[in-house]
Symmetry: C2
DNA sequence: TTCGATATGTGATGTTATTACATTAGTCAA
DNA sequence: TTGACTAATGTAATAACATCACATATCGAA
């Protein structure tokens, strides 16, 4: 995988759908948006999503069964750190950030417990600044 | 709510199913286990689970759509901290721990971003010590 | 060109969760 | 006791999320 991944037709369609969205989308919402482009079955979406996840171009938000384009596409700065997501339950906006202290702290626990981690999910649910003051 | 919650019949049945399990259970697995006790519909399980979550007696693992009994039932020591879960993808065992540094670090991000958090999910997927050496 | 790997198309099915509505059981005040 | 209110429960139907199984197509390398 190079820094700019060459995407197939379906992968591009799915990625663009996520990139132009202003928040996370469910797989079925993506499917509906792409029916005009010939999409007919969930699997077409899920297969593309799997690849895009592999490539690190999108993230899956486990707590809401939805997907979002990575907001730091060009910086692999936090590619070895864990990414945390703050998800607003009012407006759906997602903020993505990484924190070296949290990353280190998790690693401490895993290494001292002999746990070999593959993927870590950190999702903060709540109300964002704009929605909180509104 | 007192320190010992009075449970209804269905809540007790669901809680006991989780308490005697050696790992997380899906709602439908619980349903199947309780058919002998008169359970017939998913909602009977989900309603009990909702209450048990309210009472803090169980946790929901977002990344695997399953539920687990709280492993620190008598200590409310980490009731104000975030709880992290290490989930073994081989054997399904879940380890629960809380970390004040992570908790503080998340709070720092939320407060400096005006984000009012309600619930935070931290789930580490991987392979536990026993399965890793086996 | 033939082979193998990757990508795609499609229907059916499996899994997880909620909606809507009816009924039952407990509580408490008049 | 009655009535009224609230919480809990029962049930069917449906919605939402995800995968399986199998067929076809596309593309690059030997």
């Amino acid at each position: 995988m190079t820094s700019t991944q060459e995407l197939t037709k379906n992968q591009s369609l799915v990625f663009n759908a996520l990139a132009r969205a202003d928040g996370p989308l469910s797989a079925y919402t993506i499917l509906d948006q792409l029916r005009g482009d010939g999409f007919r079955a969930p699997l077409q979406v899920y297969r593309a999503l799997d690849k895009l996840l592999d490539y690190g171009m999108i993230h899956r938000l486990e707590s809401i069964n939805a997907f979002v384009a990575c907001s730091h596409p060009h910086s692999h700065s936090h590619s070895h750190g864990m990414i945390a997501f703050a998800i607003c339950e009012k407006c759906g906006q997602v903020s993505e950030f990484s924190d070296d202290v949290i990353t280190a702290r998790v690693r401490e626990w895993t290494s001292s417990n002999g746990f070999k981690q593959s993927k870590t999910t950190i999702e903060i649910r709540g109300v964002c600044a704009s929605c909180g003051t509104a």
